[in-house]
């Protein structure tokens, strides 16, 4: 197994485990996750309830998709979108000065408000997902991501 393949596999399994874990801890205690969703003060009760019931399962399905590498591309696209949304929500709560718990990993994490750490973690997850996608593409077709030595140069340009 090449270094790229090992790195790709390790990253994919790690990210899959992260989202599986994040989803499972929320599914175990949906009422608590609803409190976390409501604490962002962006959604009316019913919308927050739907998010609290649906989002954990979406994370579980996408985490499992990464872990088993089935529907991988779809899962990566959804998770990239989710991390962007999470980042915007955290930043919005930070700007509004809300004293909240992230809710990102259910009751398993500290209830201390730490926006900088939450945002950094979100950015790292986004980078990890983008990196995983890049590594998978690189493995499938290395030539797509490197400039071929035999590729003709455009006229007037020097190497």
């Amino acid at each position: 197994m090449t270094a790229a393949a090992s790195g790709s596999l390790a990253l994919r399994l790690f990210l899959g485990a992260v989202f599986l874990y994040a989803g499972i801890v929320k599914v175990i205690d949906p009422a608590q996750f609803l409190v976390d969703v409501e604490s962002y003060r962006l959604l009316p009760y019913l919308a927050a309830l739907v998010v609290a019931l649906y989002l954990p399962w979406l994370e579980i399905f996408c985490g499992a998709a990464l872990w088993f590498k089935r529907w991988y591309d779809g899962a990566i696209v959804i998770l990239l979108g989710l991390t962007v949304v999470f980042g915007v929500l955290i930043a919005s709560a930070w700007v509004r000065g809300l004293d909240i718990s992230c809710g990102c990993f259910g009751v398993s994490e500290s209830t201390e408000t730490n926006y900088a750490w939450w945002l950094l973690r979100d950015i790292l997850l986004f980078a990890g997902l983008a990196g995983s996608l890049w590594l998978e593409r690189f493995r499938e077709d290395p030539a797509r991501l490197t400039i071929s030595a035999s590729e003709p140069l455009e006229s007037g340009k020097t190497p």
Partner: protein, 143 residues
């Protein structure tokens, strides 16, 4: 349909069935009504039916407490627990250990649940409740 788009659709649709399963099968699934108390919570109607007048505990910040609070409420939050807990205990014992109702800002805050849990541990009393909806519910009731 491109494969990725089909995967996205499946991954977005399938969780909704499991979310519905959570509603039906999970014993701790939240209520569809925002006013229905969860475990450990009470609403104002339930409090009115208490045999004794409860001791109100305000789990918000001092600034919020100073701005407005339930009449005769005691300020008690996690940030200043060691300073505030003796005052609460004195009042609670003096009044003959009545039921305790803790509240924070609104339904979305967690402080009241955390304070209630700690009060149950430190007083050994199970008669400690959280007001569903917190201060917002009290204000909306016009009491």
């Amino acid at each position: 349909m491109p494969a990725t788009l089909r995967e996205i659709c499946l991954l977005l649709v399938l969780p909704s069935f499991f979310a519905a399963g959570t509603v039906v099968l999970h014993p701790g699934a939240p209520s569809w009504s925002p006013d229905t108390p969860e475990e450990g919570e009470v609403n104002l109607t339930m409090i009115d039916a208490f045999p004794d007048e409860p001791l109100w505990v305000d789990a918000r910040t001092r600034d919020e407490f100073d701005s407005a609070h339930v009449p005769n409420a005691v300020l008690l939050n996690e940030d200043a627990w060691h300073d505030l807990f003796p005052g609460f205990l004195d009042k609670w014992v003096l009044r003959g250990e009545p039921p305790v109702v803790v509240y924070c800002g609104s339904r979305g805050c967690r402080a009241s649940h955390q304070v209630a849990e700690r009060l149950r541990e430190e007083t050994g009393s199970d008669d400690v409740h959280v007001l569903r909806g917190g201060w917002q519910t009290w204000e909306d009731s016009g009491r």
